[in-house]
Symmetry: C2
Subunit: 282 residues, 2 copies
Protein backbone atom coordinates (compact mmCIF):
# COMPACT_ATOMS: atom_id res chain seq x y z
CA UNK A 1 0.00 0.00 0.00
CA UNK A 2 1.67 3.18 -1.24
CA UNK A 3 0.96 6.59 0.27
CA UNK A 4 0.30 7.96 -3.18
CA UNK A 5 -0.03 6.79 -6.75
CA UNK A 6 0.87 9.47 -9.28
CA UNK A 7 -0.53 8.80 -12.75
CA UNK A 8 1.44 10.62 -15.43
CA UNK A 9 5.06 11.65 -15.89
CA UNK A 10 4.66 15.15 -17.32
CA UNK A 11 5.59 18.35 -15.47
CA UNK A 12 2.63 18.14 -13.06
CA UNK A 13 3.42 14.57 -12.03
CA UNK A 14 7.12 15.42 -11.65
CA UNK A 15 6.45 18.49 -9.52
CA UNK A 16 4.21 16.46 -7.20
CA UNK A 17 6.69 13.56 -7.05
CA UNK A 18 9.59 15.86 -6.07
CA UNK A 19 7.60 17.31 -3.19
CA UNK A 20 6.18 14.02 -1.92
CA UNK A 21 9.64 12.47 -2.05
CA UNK A 22 11.07 15.32 0.04
CA UNK A 23 8.38 14.47 2.58
CA UNK A 24 9.41 10.79 2.58
CA UNK A 25 6.11 9.49 1.27
CA UNK A 26 6.05 6.15 -0.52
CA UNK A 27 5.32 6.89 -4.14
CA UNK A 28 4.11 4.72 -6.99
CA UNK A 29 4.74 6.77 -10.09
CA UNK A 30 3.09 5.27 -13.15
CA UNK A 31 3.58 6.38 -16.73
CA UNK A 32 6.07 6.65 -19.52
CA UNK A 33 9.78 6.95 -18.64
CA UNK A 34 10.01 9.01 -21.85
CA UNK A 35 8.03 11.69 -19.97
CA UNK A 36 5.56 14.01 -21.68
CA UNK A 37 5.40 13.63 -25.44
CA UNK A 38 3.66 17.00 -25.64
CA UNK A 39 6.55 18.72 -23.83
CA UNK A 40 9.07 16.74 -25.90
CA UNK A 41 7.58 18.03 -29.14
CA UNK A 42 7.65 21.70 -28.10
CA UNK A 43 10.01 23.65 -30.32
CA UNK A 44 10.74 26.40 -27.81
CA UNK A 45 9.58 27.11 -24.29
CA UNK A 46 10.13 30.81 -23.59
CA UNK A 47 7.95 31.41 -20.56
CA UNK A 48 9.22 29.03 -17.88
CA UNK A 49 10.54 31.25 -15.09
CA UNK A 50 14.22 30.81 -14.31
CA UNK A 51 14.98 28.92 -17.50
CA UNK A 52 16.41 30.43 -20.65
CA UNK A 53 14.36 29.65 -23.79
CA UNK A 54 14.86 25.96 -24.53
CA UNK A 55 13.35 23.14 -26.52
CA UNK A 56 10.90 20.73 -24.97
CA UNK A 57 13.32 17.89 -25.60
CA UNK A 58 15.98 19.75 -23.58
CA UNK A 59 13.51 20.40 -20.80
CA UNK A 60 12.57 16.72 -20.70
CA UNK A 61 16.27 15.87 -20.52
CA UNK A 62 16.63 18.14 -17.49
CA UNK A 63 13.58 16.56 -15.92
CA UNK A 64 15.09 13.11 -16.49
CA UNK A 65 18.33 14.14 -14.77
CA UNK A 66 16.38 15.61 -11.87
CA UNK A 67 14.30 12.45 -11.49
CA UNK A 68 17.49 10.39 -11.22
CA UNK A 69 19.10 12.86 -8.79
CA UNK A 70 16.02 12.81 -6.56
CA UNK A 71 16.00 9.01 -6.49
CA UNK A 72 12.54 8.85 -8.05
CA UNK A 73 11.45 5.82 -10.05
CA UNK A 74 8.92 5.54 -12.82
CA UNK A 75 6.92 2.35 -13.29
CA UNK A 76 6.22 1.98 -17.01
CA UNK A 77 2.52 1.13 -17.03
CA UNK A 78 -0.56 2.60 -18.60
CA UNK A 79 -3.15 2.78 -15.86
CA UNK A 80 -6.51 1.75 -17.25
CA UNK A 81 -8.68 1.51 -14.17
CA UNK A 82 -8.85 3.04 -10.70
CA UNK A 83 -11.32 1.89 -8.06
CA UNK A 84 -11.86 3.60 -4.71
CA UNK A 85 -12.12 1.14 -1.82
CA UNK A 86 -12.19 1.29 1.98
CA UNK A 87 -8.48 1.87 2.46
CA UNK A 88 -7.82 4.02 -0.60
CA UNK A 89 -7.61 3.00 -4.23
CA UNK A 90 -6.90 -0.10 -6.31
CA UNK A 91 -5.23 0.55 -9.64
CA UNK A 92 -4.87 -1.61 -12.71
CA UNK A 93 -1.71 -0.87 -14.68
CA UNK A 94 -1.03 -3.25 -17.54
CA UNK A 95 -1.65 -6.68 -15.96
CA UNK A 96 -0.64 -5.55 -12.47
CA UNK A 97 -2.69 -4.45 -9.51
CA UNK A 98 -1.49 -1.75 -7.15
CA UNK A 99 -2.88 -0.13 -4.03
CA UNK A 100 -2.45 3.41 -2.76
CA UNK A 101 -4.00 5.59 -0.09
CA UNK A 102 -4.29 8.56 -2.45
CA UNK A 103 -4.21 9.15 -6.19
CA UNK A 104 -2.96 12.09 -8.21
CA UNK A 105 -4.24 12.26 -11.78
CA UNK A 106 -1.66 14.12 -13.87
CA UNK A 107 -2.72 12.54 -17.13
CA UNK A 108 -2.28 15.38 -19.55
CA UNK A 109 -4.62 17.42 -21.67
CA UNK A 110 -7.91 16.08 -20.43
CA UNK A 111 -6.82 12.69 -21.63
CA UNK A 112 -8.47 11.60 -24.81
CA UNK A 113 -12.20 11.75 -25.17
CA UNK A 114 -13.58 8.23 -25.02
CA UNK A 115 -14.72 6.89 -28.38
CA UNK A 116 -18.39 6.16 -28.80
CA UNK A 117 -18.82 2.54 -27.70
CA UNK A 118 -15.46 2.43 -25.91
CA UNK A 119 -16.79 2.23 -22.37
CA UNK A 120 -19.69 -0.12 -23.17
CA UNK A 121 -17.44 -2.59 -24.99
CA UNK A 122 -14.40 -2.36 -22.71
CA UNK A 123 -13.32 -5.94 -21.94
CA UNK A 124 -15.67 -7.13 -24.68
CA UNK A 125 -13.27 -6.64 -27.51
CA UNK A 126 -11.94 -3.23 -26.51
CA UNK A 127 -8.48 -3.41 -24.93
CA UNK A 128 -5.80 -0.90 -23.88
CA UNK A 129 -3.01 -3.44 -23.59
CA UNK A 130 -1.41 -5.45 -26.39
CA UNK A 131 0.64 -7.56 -24.00
CA UNK A 132 -2.36 -8.41 -21.87
CA UNK A 133 -4.93 -9.25 -24.52
CA UNK A 134 -3.11 -9.65 -27.84
CA UNK A 135 -3.05 -13.45 -27.73
CA UNK A 136 -6.88 -13.47 -27.73
CA UNK A 137 -6.82 -12.22 -31.31
CA UNK A 138 -4.49 -14.70 -32.96
CA UNK A 139 -5.47 -14.96 -36.61
CA UNK A 140 -8.40 -12.60 -36.16
CA UNK A 141 -9.14 -9.10 -37.43
CA UNK A 142 -8.47 -6.09 -35.24
CA UNK A 143 -8.35 -2.31 -35.39
CA UNK A 144 -5.58 -0.37 -33.64
CA UNK A 145 -5.64 3.28 -32.65
CA UNK A 146 -2.11 4.30 -31.74
CA UNK A 147 -1.58 7.89 -30.53
CA UNK A 148 2.13 7.80 -29.73
CA UNK A 149 5.04 6.28 -31.70
CA UNK A 150 6.36 4.83 -28.44
CA UNK A 151 3.74 2.10 -28.85
CA UNK A 152 4.95 0.96 -32.28
CA UNK A 153 6.44 -2.18 -30.77
CA UNK A 154 2.94 -3.05 -29.55
CA UNK A 155 1.55 -2.37 -33.02
CA UNK A 156 4.14 -4.75 -34.47
CA UNK A 157 3.37 -7.37 -31.87
CA UNK A 158 -0.36 -7.17 -32.60
CA UNK A 159 0.14 -7.17 -36.38
CA UNK A 160 2.16 -10.39 -36.15
CA UNK A 161 -0.51 -12.10 -34.06
CA UNK A 162 -3.62 -10.94 -35.87
CA UNK A 163 -4.71 -12.20 -39.27
CA UNK A 164 -5.49 -8.63 -40.26
CA UNK A 165 -4.84 -5.35 -38.44
CA UNK A 166 -6.20 -1.93 -39.38
CA UNK A 167 -4.10 0.88 -37.98
CA UNK A 168 -4.93 4.51 -37.42
CA UNK A 169 -2.42 7.05 -36.11
CA UNK A 170 -3.14 10.79 -35.67
CA UNK A 171 0.51 11.76 -36.27
CA UNK A 172 2.82 12.00 -39.27
CA UNK A 173 5.71 9.83 -38.14
CA UNK A 174 6.58 6.62 -40.01
CA UNK A 175 4.55 3.65 -38.85
CA UNK A 176 5.44 -0.05 -38.81
CA UNK A 177 4.71 -2.00 -41.97
CA UNK A 178 3.73 -5.64 -42.26
CA UNK A 179 1.86 -8.13 -44.39
CA UNK A 180 -1.43 -7.99 -42.52
CA UNK A 181 -1.21 -4.32 -41.54
CA UNK A 182 -3.40 -1.82 -43.35
CA UNK A 183 -3.37 1.85 -42.56
CA UNK A 184 -6.82 3.42 -42.20
CA UNK A 185 -7.35 6.59 -44.24
CA UNK A 186 -9.81 8.10 -41.72
CA UNK A 187 -9.93 8.25 -37.92
CA UNK A 188 -11.91 5.73 -35.93
CA UNK A 189 -15.05 7.54 -34.81
CA UNK A 190 -16.96 4.80 -32.99
CA UNK A 191 -16.79 1.18 -31.92
CA UNK A 192 -19.90 -0.83 -32.74
CA UNK A 193 -21.28 -4.15 -31.54
CA UNK A 194 -24.07 -5.81 -29.61
CA UNK A 195 -22.46 -7.14 -26.43
CA UNK A 196 -19.12 -7.58 -28.25
CA UNK A 197 -17.09 -5.60 -30.72
CA UNK A 198 -18.26 -6.16 -34.29
CA UNK A 199 -16.95 -3.20 -36.26
CA UNK A 200 -15.38 0.24 -36.21
CA UNK A 201 -16.95 3.28 -37.83
CA UNK A 202 -14.54 5.60 -39.64
CA UNK A 203 -14.53 9.35 -40.17
CA UNK A 204 -15.82 9.02 -43.75
CA UNK A 205 -18.86 7.02 -42.60
CA UNK A 206 -17.54 3.67 -43.84
CA UNK A 207 -16.94 0.79 -41.45
CA UNK A 208 -14.65 -2.20 -41.03
CA UNK A 209 -15.70 -5.50 -39.49
CA UNK A 210 -13.30 -6.37 -36.63
CA UNK A 211 -13.12 -8.82 -33.71
CA UNK A 212 -11.25 -6.46 -31.40
CA UNK A 213 -10.04 -2.89 -30.99
CA UNK A 214 -6.76 -1.89 -29.33
CA UNK A 215 -6.50 1.66 -28.10
CA UNK A 216 -2.80 2.42 -27.55
CA UNK A 217 -2.86 5.81 -25.90
CA UNK A 218 -0.85 7.58 -23.23
CA UNK A 219 -3.86 7.80 -21.02
CA UNK A 220 -7.40 6.69 -20.71
CA UNK A 221 -10.32 9.13 -20.70
CA UNK A 222 -10.87 10.27 -17.10
CA UNK A 223 -14.45 9.00 -16.95
CA UNK A 224 -13.32 5.53 -18.05
CA UNK A 225 -10.29 5.58 -15.77
CA UNK A 226 -12.19 6.42 -12.60
CA UNK A 227 -15.95 6.06 -12.92
CA UNK A 228 -17.84 8.73 -11.01
CA UNK A 229 -15.12 11.36 -11.42
CA UNK A 230 -16.76 14.73 -12.02
CA UNK A 231 -15.76 16.54 -15.18
CA UNK A 232 -16.21 20.10 -16.39
CA UNK A 233 -16.34 19.87 -20.16
CA UNK A 234 -13.31 17.79 -21.13
CA UNK A 235 -11.45 18.57 -17.89
CA UNK A 236 -11.44 17.12 -14.40
CA UNK A 237 -13.33 19.37 -12.01
CA UNK A 238 -11.06 20.44 -9.15
CA UNK A 239 -11.34 22.68 -6.12
CA UNK A 240 -8.79 25.40 -5.37
CA UNK A 241 -6.65 22.80 -3.50
CA UNK A 242 -6.90 20.45 -6.52
CA UNK A 243 -9.07 17.86 -4.83
CA UNK A 244 -11.65 16.17 -7.08
CA UNK A 245 -15.13 15.06 -6.06
CA UNK A 246 -13.67 11.69 -4.98
CA UNK A 247 -12.04 11.84 -1.51
CA UNK A 248 -8.32 11.12 -1.73
CA UNK A 249 -8.19 11.70 -5.48
CA UNK A 250 -6.50 14.88 -6.69
CA UNK A 251 -5.70 16.19 -10.18
CA UNK A 252 -3.07 18.54 -11.61
CA UNK A 253 -1.78 19.84 -14.92
CA UNK A 254 -3.41 19.96 -18.33
CA UNK A 255 -6.16 17.54 -17.27
CA UNK A 256 -7.65 20.20 -14.94
CA UNK A 257 -7.97 22.83 -17.67
CA UNK A 258 -6.17 25.58 -19.54
CA UNK A 259 -3.65 27.13 -19.84
CA UNK A 260 -1.78 24.09 -21.12
CA UNK A 261 1.63 25.28 -19.98
CA UNK A 262 4.60 23.83 -18.15
CA UNK A 263 4.55 26.56 -15.47
CA UNK A 264 0.88 25.99 -14.75
CA UNK A 265 1.40 22.23 -14.55
CA UNK A 266 4.35 22.39 -12.13
CA UNK A 267 2.42 24.86 -9.99
CA UNK A 268 -0.55 22.55 -9.76
CA UNK A 269 1.64 19.52 -9.07
CA UNK A 270 3.12 21.45 -6.17
CA UNK A 271 -0.27 22.45 -4.77
CA UNK A 272 -1.68 18.94 -5.21
CA UNK A 273 1.31 17.38 -3.42
CA UNK A 274 0.75 19.62 -0.42
CA UNK A 275 -2.98 18.89 -0.43
CA UNK A 276 -2.13 15.17 -0.48
CA UNK A 277 0.24 15.62 2.47
CA UNK A 278 -2.54 17.33 4.37
CA UNK A 279 -5.00 14.56 3.44
CA UNK A 280 -2.56 11.81 4.49
CA UNK A 281 -1.98 13.62 7.79
CA UNK A 282 -5.63 13.40 8.79
Amino acid sequence: MYDVAIIGTGPAGLSAALNLKLHNKSILWLGSPALSRKVGLSEAIANYPGMETLSGADLNARFTAQIAAAGLEITDRLVTNILPDDSGFSLLGGNDFYQAKTVLLAIGSAGPKALEGEEALLGRGVSYCATCDGFLYKGKTIAILCTDPQYHHEVEYLAQLAGKAYLYTPYKEEVPEGAGLERLPFPIRAIRGEGRVESVLLGDGSDRAVDGVFLLRNSVAPATLLPGLELEGPHIRTARNLSTNIPGCFAAGDCTGRPYQVAKAVGEGNIAAHSILEYLGK
Copy 2:
Protein backbone atom coordinates in the same frame (compact mmCIF):
# COMPACT_ATOMS: atom_id res chain seq x y z
CA MET B 1 -3.25 53.48 -19.67
CA TYR B 2 -1.45 50.16 -19.41
CA ASP B 3 -3.14 46.86 -20.25
CA VAL B 4 -1.98 45.46 -16.94
CA ALA B 5 -0.27 46.56 -13.75
CA ILE B 6 1.61 43.77 -12.03
CA ILE B 7 2.32 44.46 -8.36
CA GLY B 8 5.23 42.42 -7.08
CA THR B 9 8.45 41.10 -8.58
CA GLY B 10 8.59 37.62 -7.08
CA PRO B 11 8.14 34.40 -9.08
CA ALA B 12 4.38 34.90 -9.55
CA GLY B 13 4.80 38.41 -10.93
CA LEU B 14 7.65 37.28 -13.18
CA SER B 15 5.70 34.32 -14.56
CA ALA B 16 2.77 36.57 -15.40
CA ALA B 17 5.02 39.27 -16.90
CA LEU B 18 6.76 36.77 -19.22
CA ASN B 19 3.43 35.55 -20.57
CA LEU B 20 1.83 38.97 -20.97
CA LYS B 21 4.96 40.23 -22.74
CA LEU B 22 4.82 37.33 -25.20
CA HIS B 23 1.28 38.44 -25.95
CA ASN B 24 2.45 42.04 -26.57
CA LYS B 25 0.45 43.57 -23.76
CA SER B 26 1.62 46.87 -22.28
CA ILE B 27 2.85 46.11 -18.81
CA LEU B 28 3.53 48.28 -15.80
CA TRP B 29 5.53 46.11 -13.45
CA LEU B 30 5.86 47.69 -10.02
CA GLY B 31 8.08 46.46 -7.21
CA SER B 32 11.64 45.93 -6.15
CA PRO B 33 14.29 45.34 -8.86
CA ALA B 34 16.01 43.19 -6.21
CA LEU B 35 13.12 40.72 -6.69
CA SER B 36 11.74 38.58 -3.88
CA ARG B 37 13.64 38.89 -0.61
CA LYS B 38 12.00 35.66 0.55
CA VAL B 39 13.35 33.76 -2.46
CA GLY B 40 16.72 35.46 -2.10
CA LEU B 41 17.07 34.24 1.47
CA SER B 42 16.28 30.59 0.65
CA GLU B 43 19.28 28.42 1.34
CA ALA B 44 18.35 25.67 -1.11
CA ILE B 45 15.44 25.14 -3.46
CA ALA B 46 15.25 21.44 -4.28
CA ASN B 47 11.75 21.07 -5.69
CA TYR B 48 11.61 23.39 -8.66
CA PRO B 49 11.07 21.15 -11.69
CA GLY B 50 13.81 21.29 -14.30
CA MET B 51 16.29 23.05 -12.02
CA GLU B 52 19.04 21.35 -10.07
CA THR B 53 19.03 22.22 -6.35
CA LEU B 54 20.13 25.83 -6.08
CA SER B 55 20.15 28.73 -3.65
CA GLY B 56 17.46 31.36 -3.75
CA ALA B 57 20.06 33.99 -4.56
CA ASP B 58 21.09 31.96 -7.62
CA LEU B 59 17.49 31.57 -8.68
CA ASN B 60 16.94 35.32 -8.35
CA ALA B 61 20.05 35.88 -10.47
CA ARG B 62 18.55 33.65 -13.18
CA PHE B 63 15.28 35.52 -12.94
CA THR B 64 17.13 38.82 -13.34
CA ALA B 65 18.89 37.56 -16.48
CA GLN B 66 15.59 36.33 -17.89
CA ILE B 67 13.88 39.65 -17.19
CA ALA B 68 16.61 41.45 -19.15
CA ALA B 69 16.48 38.91 -21.99
CA ALA B 70 12.71 39.28 -22.26
CA GLY B 71 12.97 43.07 -22.39
CA LEU B 72 10.87 43.47 -19.26
CA GLU B 73 11.25 46.52 -17.05
CA ILE B 74 10.60 46.94 -13.37
CA THR B 75 9.42 50.27 -11.99
CA ASP B 76 10.81 50.60 -8.49
CA ARG B 77 7.78 51.76 -6.52
CA LEU B 78 5.90 50.51 -3.52
CA VAL B 79 2.25 50.59 -4.47
CA THR B 80 0.22 51.87 -1.54
CA ASN B 81 -3.22 52.35 -3.02
CA ILE B 82 -5.32 50.94 -5.83
CA LEU B 83 -8.70 52.36 -6.80
CA PRO B 84 -11.07 50.77 -9.33
CA ASP B 85 -12.62 53.30 -11.69
CA ASP B 86 -14.69 53.25 -14.88
CA SER B 87 -11.86 52.37 -17.22
CA GLY B 88 -9.86 50.12 -14.93
CA PHE B 89 -7.68 51.04 -11.99
CA SER B 90 -5.74 54.02 -10.66
CA LEU B 91 -2.62 53.14 -8.70
CA LEU B 92 -0.51 55.18 -6.35
CA GLY B 93 3.15 54.14 -6.31
CA GLY B 94 5.41 56.40 -4.27
CA ASN B 95 4.35 59.90 -5.39
CA ASP B 96 3.27 58.79 -8.86
CA PHE B 97 -0.13 57.91 -10.25
CA TYR B 98 -0.59 55.18 -12.84
CA GLN B 99 -3.55 53.76 -14.72
CA ALA B 100 -4.14 50.23 -15.96
CA LYS B 101 -7.05 48.25 -17.36
CA THR B 102 -6.30 45.26 -15.13
CA VAL B 103 -4.29 44.56 -11.98
CA LEU B 104 -2.41 41.50 -10.85
CA LEU B 105 -1.61 41.34 -7.15
CA ALA B 106 1.51 39.24 -6.69
CA ILE B 107 2.48 40.83 -3.41
CA GLY B 108 3.90 37.90 -1.51
CA SER B 109 2.86 36.01 1.56
CA ALA B 110 -0.43 37.65 2.24
CA GLY B 111 1.40 40.91 2.62
CA PRO B 112 1.80 42.04 6.18
CA LYS B 113 -1.17 42.13 8.48
CA ALA B 114 -2.16 45.73 9.02
CA LEU B 115 -1.23 47.06 12.47
CA GLU B 116 -4.04 48.04 14.75
CA GLY B 117 -4.73 51.69 13.99
CA GLU B 118 -2.83 51.61 10.68
CA GLU B 119 -5.83 51.99 8.40
CA ALA B 120 -7.68 54.49 10.57
CA LEU B 121 -4.62 56.76 10.86
CA LEU B 122 -3.30 56.38 7.31
CA GLY B 123 -2.55 59.89 6.02
CA ARG B 124 -2.99 61.18 9.58
CA GLY B 125 0.51 60.46 10.70
CA VAL B 126 0.86 56.98 9.22
CA SER B 127 2.95 56.93 6.04
CA TYR B 128 4.46 54.28 3.76
CA CYS B 129 6.86 56.63 1.99
CA ALA B 130 9.83 58.46 3.48
CA THR B 131 10.44 60.47 0.31
CA CYS B 132 6.83 61.56 0.10
CA ASP B 133 6.14 62.53 3.69
CA GLY B 134 9.47 62.70 5.55
CA PHE B 135 9.74 66.52 5.34
CA LEU B 136 6.51 66.80 7.38
CA TYR B 137 8.36 65.46 10.42
CA LYS B 138 11.37 67.74 10.50
CA GLY B 139 12.51 68.02 14.12
CA LYS B 140 9.63 65.86 15.31
CA THR B 141 9.43 62.41 16.88
CA ILE B 142 8.63 59.39 14.71
CA ALA B 143 8.54 55.61 14.83
CA ILE B 144 9.81 53.54 11.94
CA LEU B 145 8.96 49.92 11.19
CA CYS B 146 11.41 48.64 8.56
CA THR B 147 10.94 45.06 7.33
CA ASP B 148 13.66 44.91 4.68
CA PRO B 149 17.27 46.18 4.78
CA GLN B 150 16.76 47.59 1.26
CA TYR B 151 14.95 50.49 2.96
CA HIS B 152 17.89 51.46 5.20
CA HIS B 153 18.57 54.53 3.08
CA GLU B 154 15.02 55.67 3.89
CA VAL B 155 15.64 55.02 7.57
CA GLU B 156 18.78 57.19 7.37
CA TYR B 157 16.91 59.92 5.54
CA LEU B 158 14.14 59.94 8.14
CA ALA B 159 16.58 59.83 11.07
CA GLN B 160 18.38 62.91 9.74
CA LEU B 161 15.13 64.84 9.35
CA ALA B 162 13.40 63.87 12.56
CA GLY B 163 14.38 65.12 15.99
CA LYS B 164 14.00 61.62 17.33
CA ALA B 165 13.34 58.34 15.51
CA TYR B 166 12.43 55.01 17.09
CA LEU B 167 13.28 52.08 14.83
CA TYR B 168 12.01 48.52 14.88
CA THR B 169 13.26 45.83 12.47
CA PRO B 170 12.14 42.19 12.56
CA TYR B 171 15.48 40.94 11.18
CA LYS B 172 19.00 40.47 12.51
CA GLU B 173 20.99 42.45 9.95
CA GLU B 174 22.95 45.54 11.02
CA VAL B 175 20.85 48.67 11.05
CA PRO B 176 21.84 52.31 10.47
CA GLU B 177 23.04 54.22 13.50
CA GLY B 178 22.64 57.91 14.19
CA ALA B 179 22.37 60.51 16.92
CA GLY B 180 18.59 60.62 17.11
CA LEU B 181 17.99 56.99 16.22
CA GLU B 182 16.92 54.60 18.96
CA ARG B 183 16.24 50.94 18.35
CA LEU B 184 13.04 49.63 19.89
CA PRO B 185 13.46 46.46 21.96
CA PHE B 186 9.93 45.19 21.18
CA PRO B 187 7.80 45.14 18.04
CA ILE B 188 5.25 47.84 17.34
CA ARG B 189 1.86 46.29 18.10
CA ALA B 190 -0.50 49.19 17.53
CA ILE B 191 -0.68 52.80 16.46
CA ARG B 192 -2.73 55.00 18.76
CA GLY B 193 -4.26 58.43 18.45
CA GLU B 194 -7.54 60.34 18.23
CA GLY B 195 -7.77 61.62 14.66
CA ARG B 196 -3.96 61.78 14.40
CA VAL B 197 -1.07 59.59 15.45
CA GLU B 198 -0.12 60.16 19.10
CA SER B 199 1.81 57.08 20.14
CA VAL B 200 2.86 53.53 19.31
CA LEU B 201 2.18 50.58 21.59
CA LEU B 202 5.01 48.04 21.87
CA GLY B 203 5.02 44.31 22.41
CA ASP B 204 5.85 44.65 26.11
CA GLY B 205 2.81 46.88 26.72
CA SER B 206 4.85 50.08 27.00
CA ASP B 207 4.30 52.99 24.60
CA ARG B 208 6.22 55.80 22.99
CA ALA B 209 4.75 59.20 22.15
CA VAL B 210 5.30 59.97 18.44
CA ASP B 211 4.08 62.45 15.83
CA GLY B 212 4.26 60.03 12.94
CA VAL B 213 4.81 56.40 12.00
CA PHE B 214 6.63 55.23 8.88
CA LEU B 215 5.94 51.68 7.75
CA LEU B 216 8.72 50.68 5.33
CA ARG B 217 7.56 47.34 4.03
CA ASN B 218 7.70 45.50 0.75
CA SER B 219 3.97 45.55 0.43
CA VAL B 220 0.90 46.95 1.98
CA ALA B 221 -1.78 44.76 3.57
CA PRO B 222 -4.23 43.76 0.83
CA ALA B 223 -7.24 45.32 2.56
CA THR B 224 -5.41 48.65 2.82
CA LEU B 225 -4.06 48.41 -0.71
CA LEU B 226 -7.40 47.79 -2.38
CA PRO B 227 -10.38 48.47 -0.14
CA GLY B 228 -13.22 45.99 -0.69
CA LEU B 229 -10.92 43.16 -1.71
CA GLU B 230 -12.27 39.91 -0.26
CA LEU B 231 -9.91 37.95 1.93
CA GLU B 232 -9.94 34.41 3.27
CA GLY B 233 -8.04 34.57 6.54
CA PRO B 234 -4.79 36.37 5.71
CA HIS B 235 -5.00 35.51 2.00
CA ILE B 236 -6.71 37.05 -1.00
CA ARG B 237 -9.76 35.00 -1.98
CA THR B 238 -9.44 33.82 -5.58
CA ALA B 239 -11.47 31.68 -7.95
CA ARG B 240 -9.93 28.79 -9.87
CA ASN B 241 -8.90 31.25 -12.65
CA LEU B 242 -7.33 33.52 -9.99
CA SER B 243 -9.83 36.33 -10.35
CA THR B 244 -10.68 38.18 -7.13
CA ASN B 245 -14.07 39.60 -6.18
CA ILE B 246 -13.14 42.85 -7.94
CA PRO B 247 -13.60 42.64 -11.74
CA GLY B 248 -10.28 43.06 -13.55
CA CYS B 249 -8.25 42.37 -10.41
CA PHE B 250 -6.42 39.04 -10.20
CA ALA B 251 -4.01 37.59 -7.64
CA ALA B 252 -1.23 35.00 -7.76
CA GLY B 253 1.50 33.51 -5.61
CA ASP B 254 1.90 33.46 -1.84
CA CYS B 255 -0.78 36.11 -1.35
CA THR B 256 -3.49 33.65 -2.47
CA GLY B 257 -2.52 30.99 0.08
CA ARG B 258 -0.24 28.06 0.78
CA PRO B 259 1.92 26.28 -0.27
CA TYR B 260 4.43 29.16 -0.23
CA GLN B 261 6.61 27.72 -2.97
CA VAL B 262 8.28 28.94 -6.14
CA ALA B 263 6.59 26.30 -8.32
CA LYS B 264 3.15 27.18 -7.01
CA ALA B 265 3.79 30.89 -7.54
CA VAL B 266 4.99 30.54 -11.15
CA GLY B 267 2.03 28.29 -11.89
CA GLU B 268 -0.41 30.83 -10.57
CA GLY B 269 1.34 33.68 -12.37
CA ASN B 270 0.89 31.72 -15.58
CA ILE B 271 -2.80 31.03 -14.96
CA ALA B 272 -3.48 34.63 -13.92
CA ALA B 273 -1.76 35.98 -17.05
CA HIS B 274 -4.01 33.86 -19.24
CA SER B 275 -7.10 34.91 -17.29
CA ILE B 276 -6.05 38.54 -17.77
CA LEU B 277 -5.63 37.96 -21.52
CA GLU B 278 -9.14 36.53 -21.62
CA TYR B 279 -10.49 39.47 -19.60
CA LEU B 280 -8.77 42.04 -21.85
CA GLY B 281 -10.16 40.25 -24.91
CA LYS B 282 -13.75 40.80 -23.84
